[in-house]
Amino acid sequence: MEFMVPGNLILAASIFTIGVFGILLKRNAISIFMCVELMFNAANLAFITFAQSLGRPEGVAVFLFVITVAAAEAAVGLALFIKIFNDKETIEADTLDLLQR
């Protein structure tokens, strides 16, 4: 299983980059949020890989914190989107340019 540590790190980097690219590409705010979740997952994969390979529980603790922050962020963010949708009838990120004017 000696290929797993580099493999997991490459997978984590790839998923993280796919998430960054998705944030650039997507216009729907919920899709942008899903790409942020992809980035969280990539970070978790790297944390757990190192925690397992070093045999230390710190990585799992940080994994728990990341999951908690992701849950809090998803709850607040999606509530915000509901609010914005009620006001503007859209959550296309390109049309929400109030702060650019």
């Binding site: 299983m1 000696e2 290929f3 797993m4 540590v5 493999g7 997991n8 790190l9 490459i10 997978l11 980097a13 790839s14 998923i15 980059t17 796919i18 960054v20 690219f21 998705g22 650039l24 590409l25 216009r27 919920i30 899903m34 790409c35 979740e37 997952n41 978790n44 994969l45 757990i48 890989t49 925690a51 397992q52 390979s53 070093l54 045999g55 230390r56 529980p57 710190e58 799992v60 603790a61 994994f63 728990l64 914190f65 999951i67 908690t68 922050v69 992701a70 849950a71 809090a72 998803a74 709850a75 607040v76 999606l78 509530a79 989107f81 509901i82 609010k83 949708f85 959550i91 296309e92």
Partner: protein
Amino acid sequence: MISQIVYGLLFVLALFSAMMVVLSPHAVYGALYLVLTMVGIAALFVLMNAQLAGVLQIIVYAGAIMVLFLFVIMLLNVGRQEGGSGINRSVRWLGGVLSVAFILQVIAMYAGLRDELAANYTLEGAQSIRIDDVARLLLTDYIYAFEMTSVLLLVAVIGAVVLARRRLVQGALEEGERRGF
């Protein structure tokens, strides 16, 4: 041998479904592919003998958070997105090219570090990390972070309720006035 095949399949599954999250035109399909990515990563956790992380990943991520996402997508009915305008589109594809370049750079870096990684970090005979070790760590060294997380969750719950209500309190007040309270 069999574990290599399983690892390769999970690798391809996670990578493919992560790409499909970005490339699928409809947000609901994107969310379902995201669930698939999370399940693939959870399976990788279990393959690394990190059962606690795998189970939490399935329960919290694929279970709770993604249900919230799908619920909001279906509630708002904003699945399909139109194509971007010209300048934005070219800038975005430039981002794609740079992303591929970045991944290739990371792979080249790992290829250079391969011997060092193989020497210092191995999953050979990795023990599963015991849940009581994690709990002891959370309640001793990371106690302040742990408490702050609970405050964060509380704030997030209250914030979500306050943000998502739709003049409910005001409506209830008017309703009460109308009834003569």
